[in-house]
Structures are given as C-alpha cells and as structure tokens.
C-alpha cells in the first residue's frame, strides 16, 4: 500500500481473563494497515480473533476482562491510549461499524429517524430540522423507498435487508473515514446480500472511505476486497492482494479453506477438508499453530513459531514451506 495508511495496527495482543483464572490469547501479535479508500477483508473461522480485533479498534472490549497491548494508530491517535471521552467523539463520526445482526443492533423503542438523527446531532450539532433532512437524504442514499415516510417507523416494521440498510445509513451519517463491517450480509438472503454489497461498493466510490470487511465467506471477499488478511488462532497467517490470494495462496490453511468451498464451475465428488481442531488458545502450541492439521508439516514446524515472511512483494505468509508452488511442481 502506498502513502501513509489510514489505520495502522502494530503488534496487537488481546488476552481475556476468564472467571476461572484461565487466560485465553484471542489475538496474538496482529499487524495490519489499511490505506485510504481501500477495502481489507479479514477472513477466518469462528474464534480466530477477527471480530475481537475489530472490537479493539472500536474500543468496545470490556476493560475488566480484556488485556490489550500494542498500538492502533488512526488519524493521528493511538486508539488504545485515547481517553474514553475522545473515543466517543471518534466513534460514529470518523470510525463507524456495522454489525451482523441488524435485528438486535437497532433500538426497538426509538424510530429509525431518531436513531440516525441522534448520531448526527451528537457529532455535527446543528438544528434537529437539518439533521432530519440529512437523515432522510441518507436513507435515500441507501435506497430505502419513500424515506420521508419510513424515517418515522420503528425497526420492527422493517425487513432484515431494510434494517441492515438503516444500519449502513447510520454508520455513514458523519462520513466516516473507516467503516468496519462485521459479517454485514451473513444474516441475509443472496438477493439482499447482492443489494447490500452493491451498496457498499457504491458508497465507497462516493465517499472514499476505507473498509475493513470481516467475513467467513470467501465469495464476498473476492467481490469487494482489494486485499485480504487470513486469520487463524489469533494470528494473521497470510496477507495478500485479493487476486493473488485466490490464484496462488501461500499458507496451507488458506489452501484448505479455498478447497473446501463448493465451486460452480468445478464439479468434484469430494471437497477438501481441514482435519482436526483449532488449538486450545489457553495454551497455544509452541510451533506453528496450524501444524497439527497441516498435511505439509515438517519437524521444524512444531519447534518454533514461524515468522510472517514476504513470499513476493506485498504477499506475506506465516509458513516456513512457502512458496508452496515448490511442493507441487
């Protein structure tokens, strides 16, 4: 990525202290950066730390149980050292987030208009009348039909797709520089998913905001992202421009993931599977965290944790056997 990045995460570590005294290493030394106007896909399976990373950016992790170290530089701030009051000024303003569940992330006892207007008034001030006009305009931008009427409706009157569009309108209310979308289309049907992805592309083109898209759906990643980071057991195991990741992945875990999704143009009897289980993050293994499930494993893999190495310019892999082409040519 050229120029200075909009957000730069260095050596982010998040540990949770459980009630029983156990410590879970949810995120372990993550480095990430996103440039202005770029879309980064953060991919991985349940429990790999992708959502926790995004919550750390937003400053939404519980202070009592989460121990966070590292740095998150955004727009001249280190978000991890920013006082709460200042974070509240950033959130919803220059930093915005969309969650997976549009059903539970809107307040059921206020109209959607109230909720969007609240955001605008909190960060931009001005009169309620002008904020209402801006809210109507936002609803129109996310293609809500007859927004003048819809603005006074309560969330329960809207369908899932509409609610997600309201969430997006709210996130865009103050023209954020960075939008974090955590599984924004997972709860939606394909037709609605297509509408929402189209909308996100449209809005990105119009506003130039950067997006971090968290998802487990590689199809969605291929469609909207410029760059992808694959997470496994709290670490980034591969990072590459989207084309390269899909054509020549450099980490065995990514190979397994790509092989396990059914293809439209590739009829196979058997899909690839990743055998075994994710390691227990209370006691991560000494060597490579994927070693126990990796068919390409060597003795050396289990001895020391592999570093994230540059396989080719801007293509990083945490695998000592990369480049993987060598193994099959």
């Amino acid at each position: 990525m050229s120029g200075s990045p909009l957000i730069e995460i260095t050596d982010l570590r998040i540990r949770f202290h459980g009630d029983d005294g156990r410590i879970t290493h949810a995120v372990d030394g993550v480095d990430l950066s996103v440039a202005n106007g770029a879309t980064l896909g953060l991919v991985g399976e349940s429990g790999c730390g992708k959502s926790v990373t995004s919550l750390a950016i937003m400053g939404l992790l519980p202070k009592q149980s989460a121990e966070i170290s590292g740095a998150i530089h955004f727009d001249g701030f280190d978000l991890l050292k920013t006082p709460d009051q200042m974070l509240r000024d950033l959130r919803g303003n220059r930093l915005a987030m969309i969650f997976q569940e549009p059903m539970t992330s809107l307040n059921p006892s206020f109209t959607i208009g109230d909720q969007i207007i609240e955001t605008i008034l909190r960060h931009r001030g001005g009169s309620r009348k002008s904020a209402r006009e801006r809210a109507i305009d936002l609803l129109r931008r996310v293609h809500i039909p007859s927004p003048e009427r819809r603005i006074d409706e309560y969330p329960h009157k809207l369908s899932g797709g509409m609610r997600q569009r309201v969430m997006i309108a709210m996130a865009l209310a103050c023209d954020p520089r960075l939008l974090i979308a955590d599984e924004p289309t997972t709860a939606l049907d394909v037709t609605l998913q297509a509408q929402i992805l189209e909308l996100m592309r449209e809005l990105k083109a119009a506003s130039g905001a950067a997006i971090i898209l968290i998802t487990h759906d590689l199809g969605v990643v291929a469609e909207v992202c410029d760059e992808v980071a694959v997470m496994y057991a709290g670490e980034i195991v591969e990072r590459a421009p989207v084309d390269e990741l899909f054509s020549a992945p450099q980490h065995p875990y990514t190979v397994g993931l790509l092989g396990s999704i059914p293809r439209l143009d590739h009829r196979t009897e058997q899909l690839a599977t990743i055998e075994g289980m994710v390691p227990n993050m209370a006691q991560p293994p000494a060597g490579c965290r994927f070693a126990a499930r990796c068919p390409f494993v060597l003795d050396a893999c289990t001895k020391a944790p592999p570093p994230l190495i540059e396989v080719s310019p801007s293509h990083l892999s945490r695998c000592i056997r990369a480049p993987l082409e060598r193994l099959v040519s």
Partner: protein
C-alpha cells in the same frame, strides 16, 4: 419405476390473526400448491429466500404439520390417510436433520442414549446388541465409538451435526430431510459434513430433500432443484440444467447473485429492486411480478402455471419463450487456478502427496 415420494398440490395456510371470537381473519399462505416427486437415492434441493415456504414443505412431507390440501405419497402409499401407528412406522423411513446442532440434541442425554432411543422406540435392535449398533453408527459418521458416554456440550458444532446425522441413520431411513444442515457451520467443517452426506447417500442409497439458501452448496449436492417463491415452485429442473440455463426471472436473479470466490468474476448480476412481498397478502397474478424486470400487464392479473418443456425443465412464467438468453447469468468462478488445483490436491492427499515432506508422525485427529 415409481418415485419414492410424490407430492401433489400441497397447501398450507397458517392463521396469522384471529377475531375476538376465534374466527380466522388473515392467513399466511406459506405453501400454496406445491407438487414434486423424488426418486430413491436422489437429492432434491428446495431453494428460495427466507419465508418462501421451503422449510414448511419439508415439515409437511414428514407430517410434522398437517397440510390443508394436497396429497403426499411415499412408496405409493397415501401419507395423509395413515393412522397414528402407521405414521410411526412411516417415520422410520423418513428422518430429518435440522440447521442448529446446538438446539437439536437433548443436552441431558449422552450420545449413546441419543442414538439408542430411536432403536428402542421402533424396536429395531434387541437390547443386547444396541451397544454394538451405536458403535457402528458412530463409526459410520466418522466419530469414535468411545465417545458414546459423552454429552452434546462436549462436542464442536461439526461433531454435533454428525451425531444428529447418526441419529437420523439409526432407523435406516430411505429419505432424510436436511433443513439447512451446514448453514451454521464454519467453511472447513461444512465441507466435511457435505462429503459425509454424499458418501452416506452412495453407500446407503438414501434420498435427500435438501433445504438451503446457499446455492453453491446446492449445485454441489443436488440432482434436482426446485426454486420456490412465496409458497410456490416457480422453476424445477436438473441441477446442471438449472445452473447452466435458469429460465424463470426469479431463478435468474437468485443465481446471478451468488458471490463466487474469484476476484473480478464475469457476471451480469440482476439486482432485484423492491422488497419481498408478504406471504400474508401475496400479490395477485404472478407472485414475482412486483420485483420482475420483465413484467407485462398479463403478469399482474393471471397466475402462470408450471409448464414443463418436455425434457425435465418446468417454468412458471408467461414470458418463458420471450426472455433474453440466459447465457452468462450464473457467474463463472473459473474453477481453480492451475497452481491452486495442484495445491488443493496435495492438501487433500495428505503428507505422502507432498514432495519432500518430512514427517507424518503428527497424525491428525478426526473432527
């Protein structure tokens, strides 16, 4: 050859609102005239958006809920005429697997108890041999027999879904209804369950009704597909035929929207405008006309019938013959790149497939 399952004109309306005196005021037309048939050993997929009635159909077929009209014949026998004991006998032949493996297993029973229950209930295996049969069932779904003393909470989502499959298999059914069986699972676990379902079908000659909204999964597993919209089937065809040339405008929109794992995939996506009409008050005429890009006056008033083309492809659309070519509607993912193809093969082949691999001592554990 007669079909295993024949469904004719199935109707189910739920009462949505009652008057003070209990008179029905409004109905949700969940299923409205659905017909299909399924042969032994084959897979029929029901696809469509949330609320299209696909799950209701799957429950009607098992008589978990009673239809308002229509007929269901299983191996030539009318299911709706069965009394309670005959119905119980039928349930031995047809089973169901649900979406959420966290909710569909009793948390207070061990895996052994969960799998023994259907055997005892149907009096299938003498009690002395049940233990052996449980072990066999667990092996069949790729779990170790020693796990039978454990409780569901000790298993991962994928393992629980395997237990649910073993429970369905316990009574040696001919038909299994899979209602979104992999939607709640992670990608890598999903592929294990899909592989397992396929393998079991080949080995045991099972027929599946596969309810799913994930169309790439449907393409992978189904022989035949029925596309549903608001309680009706709008198109039905062989899976390959449907995916290469979808005919109904709704199927086209649905298939064109599949996200494919290929950056810059060529596609001509049809983004539907407007909201899904409510099944409470479906529009007159064709139920898709409010969102259809090809709508004409006739569509607003006259309901199109499902018209077969003679080679197994039927479409319910007035304009079937006038629609533009369906070429390039389904996005192409181009399969794997050559490098990825080799890598995936090596990944699946295990350590011996890899050049210069050092050890295999690390043995992997079956999930």
């Amino acid at each position: 050859m007669t079909a295993l399952l024949e469904v004719e004109g199935l109707v189910k309306h739920f009462v949505a609102e009652r008057s003070l005196f209990g008179r029905a005021l409004a109905h949700v037309k969940a299923v409205d005239g659905v017909s299909f048939s399924l042969e032994a050993g084959k897979t029929l997929a029901l696809v469509g958006e949330s609320g299209c009635g696909k799950s209701t159909v799957s429950r009607l077929v098992l008589r978990l809920i009673e239809p308002d009209a229509g007929s269901i014949r299983f191996e030539g026998r009318d299911l709706l005429a069965l009394d309670a004991s005959a119905l119980r006998a039928f349930r031995r032949k047809a089973q169901i697997i649900f979406q959420d493996p966290y909710a569909s297993l009793n948390p207070r029973m061990t895996v052994g108890q969960i799998l023994t229950e259907p055997l005892a209930l149907h009096g299938l295996v003498p009690s002395a041999q049940r233990h052996e049969r449980v072990a066999e069932l667990l092996r069949l779904v790729g779990l170790e027999p020693r796990l039978e003393r454990r409780y569901p909470h000790e298993f991962s989502g994928g393992q629980r879904q395997r237990i649910a499959i073993a429970r369905a298999l316990a009574v040696e059914p001919k038909l299994i209804i899979c209602d979104e069986p992999v939607s709640a699972l992670d990608v890598s676990i999903r592929s294990q369950i899909l592989n397992l379902l396929r393998e079991l079908q080949d080995r045991l000659g099972l027929a599946y009704i596969f309810v799913s909204h994930d169309l790439a999964v449907v393409k992978h597993i189904a022989d035949h597909v029925a596309v549903m919209n608001l309680g009706q089937i709008v198109e039905t065809a062989e899976a390959d035929a449907l995916f290469s040339a979808p005919s109904h405008p709704y199927s086209r929109a649905l298939l064109s929207a599949i996200p494919v794992p290929k950056p810059q995939a060529k596609r001509s996506r049809i983004v539907l405008q407007g909201e899904i009409p409510s099944a409470l008050n479906p529009p007159p005429g064709c139920r898709f006309h409010t969102r259809c890009p090809y709508v004409i006056e006739r569509c607003r008033t006259e309901m199109p019938q499902l018209v077969p083309d003679g080679i197994g492809h039927a479409t319910a659309c007035h304009r079937t013959s006038e629609l533009p070519s369906s070429a390039a509607i389904v996005p192409s993912d181009g399969g794997f790149s050559p490098v990825l193809e080799k890598l995936v093969a090596a990944f699946s082949g295990g350590p011996e497939a890899v050049r210069g691999s050092g050890v295999s001592s690390l043995g992997t554990h079956p999930a």
